[in-house]
Every structure is written in structure tokens, then in C-alpha cells.
């Protein structure tokens, strides 16, 4: 790095990735009085990351919305559902299971009020995702728990973006967009900063592929580094490399992409190379109901149908998929059925009455 403009700065906390987790982490750290740098390899137009494109559904347990519909939910039922759905079966599942327990506690307790206090409101009709179908001990939700945020994904991002921007105005948080982290600064085993490339300014729209031209370098130091750089879903090469062929059969030759190209897993790989433990990489969550966006924003842009349960689901030869592979019942079970049979695609057959009431689209910017 020869350029003299390589910036060396010190702050309290560096957050890498300005998606939902990064916005929350930055806001909370700044609330606690810390100075924060919030980095992202993309530009400001991508603030909120994947959450922006989502449908805004939030898992919550025993809420006023559920009770109003006559749904009786409980922490006990939800934790049982979580365990039978997760299927934890490895020594590496020690911390994942602890986190799952903490998260179910949160979703049955503090979550609803915490979000309400920040202005998050839900649509009165609670959705029923992952309906199961393999009996009371099988995977899936026993009751509807999918609380849809007013304003969908952007409605979830908005309060946290607002908190971050207030801290920016007060000088506690600074954004560093187009900063691509390439490595951690580590001395004596302690992580104390990050270094990487500054990419040229890009005026592409949210989600569109941006340039990778490097115009500068950076080296930033801090008391702590928080990685919130997202997953690998936009990196087909890495998805295929991590694909659990033994469990699911070979990956389909054609897969479409439910996330932008910049969801590349680079920071996760960087952390692993620096000594972090990357576990359960064979576990991924890919959908079986992807359609090509007629108006694509990113390469191979796919939209997911969140389907109601009435469509007929057919194999490529026109035979009906067997029980319990029905729309919206068990994403992984049906994926496994499709990929172990080597189907390149499947079909829904339905009519106008069904599509009108039962198709919801996720992965395009929209309002309800």
C-alpha cells in the first residue's frame, strides 16, 4: 500500500456490515456511549442489507395478535417446535443450542415490547410458515407465529437506521461505505482492528452489482471488532462447495439467487482464515419455490413465493409430489425430496382463485 491517503484511525468499536445486525449492534454500542465506525463494502444505498428485501416476518410467541385470533401459543410449545425443527445432533451444536434457547426466551418475552417501543407494528393476521406435516414430533410450527411488520422489510430496518443516523448526527457513529475488509489486525492473539480496500464510489441502485475497482486502502484500529457481514447466498461457487451432497444429493445445475451478488461470504472466510471457528457450513436455507424476477435487480435474481397450501405440487413428469411435500410445509424436507430425485425444477399447478389469495412474493421491494 503506497498511497499516503491510507487512513489510520482509532475508535472504540468497528462494525463490519451495515445490514440489520450491524445497524442494531452499532446503535446499541453507541447507546452505551461508545464511538463506532460502521463499515460496508457497498454504498449507502444498500443500508439495511437483506432485511430490506425481506417480507418483514418476525417469529414471536404468545403475542396480542395471536391471542386476538384465538391462537394459544406458549414458550413450551415453541421451544419444542424449535428443537424438533432444528434437529441439533452434533457436538458443535453446543453454542447453537444455547443461542436457540436464548432466542426463544427473547421471542416469548422481551422481543415484542422492545420492538413496539421503537415503533414496530404488526399486521393483525399472523402467518403460518413451515406448517410441518410429519406429526407432533416432526419439524414445523404447531401454530402461526409469522408476524408481518407494517412496511415489510423496510419497516423492520427503519427504526434501527433512524437510531444509527441520530448517533451519526451526534458524532458517535461514522459510516465508512465502500470499505471492503480484507483482514483483521491481530497482535498477541488480540483483535484490535481491520484493514482492507476502499472501493470506488458507485451510484448503482440498491441490490445492483457494484464495481470492485480499488481506489485506496485503509487500516483502522479499535477496542473491539463486530462482524455482521452476512452469509454466502449470493456466491454460488461457495454454496456449491458447501453443498451437503451426502444428505441432499448433488446441487441442482441451475439455481437462482435470492440475494444480491455482494452477499459473497468473503468476511466469513476472512475470519476463518484469521483463526475463527466456522461450523455447520453444510447447513443452508434455500427455497424450493423460486421464480425468475421479470424485472431483475441482481444477477439471476429470484423471488420466493410464500405459498398458501392449496396448489398442486408436481414433479417434472407431472406426477404429484408425495405426502407431506405440500406448499409451505417443510422447506428442507421438500428440498431434499427434489434434489435427491435429481429434479431440475418442479411445478405448481393452480388457478386464478388460488393465486389471488395464496401467493405472496418475497425478495422484491414492496408494500403490503
Amino acid at each position: 500500500m503506497t498511497t499516503q491517503s491510507v487512513t489510520t484511525q482509532y475508535t472504540d468499536i468497528i462494525v463490519i456490515g451495515a445490514g440489520l445486525a450491524g445497524l442494531v449492534a452499532a446503535a446499541e454500542a453507541a447507546d452505551a456511549g461508545k464511538r463506532v465506525l460502521l463499515l460496508d463494502q457497498e454504498g449507502e444505498q444498500n443500508l439495511g442489507g437483506q432485511a430490506f428485501w425481506s417480507f418483514g416476518g418476525l417469529f414471536a410467541i404468545n403475542t396480542p395478535e395471536q391471542r386476538r385470533l384465538g391462537i394459544r401459543d406458549s414458550h413450551e410449545l415453541a421451544w419444542r417446535d424449535w428443537q424438533s425443527t432444528a434437529g441439533f445432533d452434533r457436538p458443535e451444536d453446543y453454542w447453537p443450542r444455547k443461542w436457540a434457547e436464548a432466542y426463544v426466551d427473547f421471542a416469548a418475552g422481551e422481543k415484542y415490547g422492545w420492538l413496539a417501543s421503537q415503533g414496530v407494528r404488526f399486521f393483525p393476521g399472523v402467518g403460518w410458515a413451515e406448517r410441518g406435516g410429519q406429526g407432533a414430533s416432526g419439524p414445523g410450527n404447531s401454530v402461526p407465529r409469522f408476524h408481518i411488520t407494517w412496511g415489510t422489510g423496510p419497516g423492520v430496518v427503519e427504526p434501527f437506521e433512524r437510531r444509527v443516523r441520530e448517533h451519526v448526527a451526534a458524532g458517535r457513529i461514522a459510516f465508512k461505505f465502500r470499505h471492503r475488509v480484507r483482514g483483521l489486525n491481530i497482535s498477541g492473539g488480540v483483535v484490535h482492528g481491520v484493514h482492507g480496500d476502499v472501493l470506488e464510489v458507485s451510484d448503482v441502485l440498491r441490490g445492483e452489482q457494484s464495481s470492485r475497482v480499488v481506489v485506496d486502502g485503509f487500516d483502522l484500529n479499535a477496542g473491539a471488532v463486530i462482524l455482521t457481514a452476512g452469509g454466502i447466498g449470493g456466491n454460488q461457487e461457495l454454496v456449491r462447495k458447501n453443498w451437503p451432497t451426502q444428505r441432499l444429493g448433488p446441487a441442482p445445475e441451475v439455481m437462482i439467487s435470492g440475494v444480491p451478488k455482494h452477499v459473497d461470504g468473503a468476511a466469513q472466510q476472512m475470519a476463518e482464515a484469521a483463526g475463527a471457528h466456522l461450523i455447520n457450513r453444510d447447513r443452508m436455507w434455500h427455497y424450493t419455490e423460486g421464480i425468475r424476477n421479470w424485472n431483475p435487480v441482481w444477477p439471476m435474481h429470484g423471488i420466493r413465493i410464500l405459498p398458501g397450501p392449496s396448489s398442486l405440487w408436481l414433479a417434472p413428469d407431472g406426477t404429484r409430489l408425495p405426502y407431506p411435500n405440500y406448499p409451505g410445509f417443510d422447506t428442507l424436507g421438500t428440498l431434499q425430496h427434489i434434489t435427491t430425485h435429481g429434479y431440475p425444477y418442479t411445478w405448481f399447478v393452480l388457478n386464478r382463485a388460488i393465486i389471488k389469495k395464496e401467493f405472496t412474493l418475497s425478495g422484491a421491494s414492496k408494500k403490503i
Binding site: 472504540d12 456490515g17 440489520l20 445486525a21 450491524g22 442494531v24 449492534a25 446499541e28 447507546d31 452505551a32 425443527t85 432444528a86 434437529g87 444455547k98 436457540a100 436464548a102 427473547f106 420492538l115 393483525p124 393476521g125 422489510g153 491481530i186 492473539g189 488480540v190 473491539a224 463486530i226 452469509g231 440475494v259 468476511a267 475463527a276 471457528h277 461450523i279 455447520n280 443452508m284 436455507w285 434455500h286 423460486g290 421464480i291 425468475r292 421479470w294 429470484g302 423471488i303 397450501p309 392449496s310 398442486l312 407431472g318 404429484r320 407431506p324 422447506t331 428442507l332 428440498l335 425444477y345 411445478w347 393452480l350 388457478n351 386464478r352 382463485a353 388460488i354 389471488k356 412474493l361
Partner: protein, 181 residues
């Protein structure tokens, strides 16, 4: 979403019916199957097979009970008022002309989320393979499998990804800040 109560398909779904590369919309079942084969470019779908599957399903409509488990679960879910009002159609023959046209949608595998990730403890501290924290490094959200290195295990109950980012982001922000005090 309130539009579900009306007669018209939502504009975003209608746009896919009109312009989506994976959609076939036709008035009759023979035409629909022809359209499906035209879309894929090979004659994989047998009209007789689809006609039999649809007819068998529609024959189950004469009663409010029957042997088809998909229909049984549809009927069970419709006991819930919002499922009935805005999410699930009343079971009816697929070939009812008043409910047409018929639609076939080619479904592709869509890559989306990473369930595994960086192993973290309950303070969101990133761990090394020996189980000891890497001092100064925290992780939250999808990079850490919505924390711990995969709190969903093999499967998600949905609505848990945004929530996982909120919860683990909050833990990481608070714990990283507290460690500096």
C-alpha cells in the same frame, strides 16, 4: 394484503403472470400442459398424468372430508379465521371455469441463507477451534448463523432471520461495549 378480500389478483403477482419467465397461464388443461412443455423445451410432462392427478384431487371435493392429506390440512387450517379470510381458498375443483384461468409455475431452487457460521458464545464472542474466545472479536447475524454458529440447526421456523439479526446484534453491541468499560 387487504386486497385479498377483493376480486383482482395483486398487481405484483399479476406482473409475474403476464411477464414472468416461469409462468404459464391458459384456459384449459391440455393447453396448460402444452404450455409447460413449450416453456421447458422438452416434452417431460404427460398430459394424461396431470389430468389424472387433477381429476383425482377434484373428485375429493364432493365431501368436506376425504382421504387426501393435503386437503385435510387445508381444511384444518381454515378453522383459523385469518387463514380462512386472507390466506387459504375454500377447497374447490381446480378445473372450475369460474376460478380460471389455469396457471402453472415452474419452481426453481433459490439460494438464500446460510444457517451455519462463526461459532460464538452467548456474549457473541467469536471462538477459536479450541473453544477459547478470540479477544476483541464479536459476530452477529447471518455471518454467525444468527448466532452461536447456527441457532437454527438444520431448519428454520421462519421469521427467525430478521429476529436473529435483531437479537444477536443487540447482544454483540452491548457486550462489546461493556467489555471496553
Amino acid at each position: 394484503m387487504a386486497g385479498r378480500l377483493g376480486k383482482k389478483v395483486s398487481p405484483s403477482v399479476q406482473a409475474f403472470m403476464d411477464q414472468g419467465a416461469d409462468f404459464v397461464v391458459r384456459d384449459s388443461l391440455p393447453d396448460l400442459v402444452r404450455g409447460m412443455n413449450e416453456l421447458t423445451g422438452h416434452d417431460a410432462v404427460e398430459f394424461g398424468t396431470v389430468a389424472r392427478e387433477v381429476a383425482d384431487r377434484d373428485l375429493q371435493m364432493a365431501n368436506v372430508f376425504g382421504k387426501d392429506p393435503q386437503l385435510a390440512m387445508v381444511r384444518g387450517a381454515r378453522a383459523l379465521i385469518n387463514e380462512r379470510l386472507i390466506r387459504i381458498v375454500k377447497p374447490a375443483p381446480l378445473l372450475d371455469p369460474a376460478a380460471g384461468p389455469l396457471i402453472a409455475v415452474r419452481l426453481n431452487i433459490l439460494t438464500r441463507k446460510t444457517l451455519g457460521g462463526l461459532e460464538t458464545d452467548l456474549q457473541a464472542r467469536v471462538l477459536r477451534p479450541d473453544g477459547q474466545p478470540m479477544p476483541g472479536l464479536y459476530a452477529a447475524g447471518e455471518v454467525a448463523g444468527f448466532d452461536g454458529g447456527g441457532m437454527h440447526g438444520y431448519r428454520s421456523l421462519e421469521g427467525t432471520f430478521l429476529g436473529g439479526c435483531l437479537f444477536s446484534g443487540r447482544v454483540a453491541g452491548r457486550c462489546a461495549a461493556a467489555a471496553l468499560d
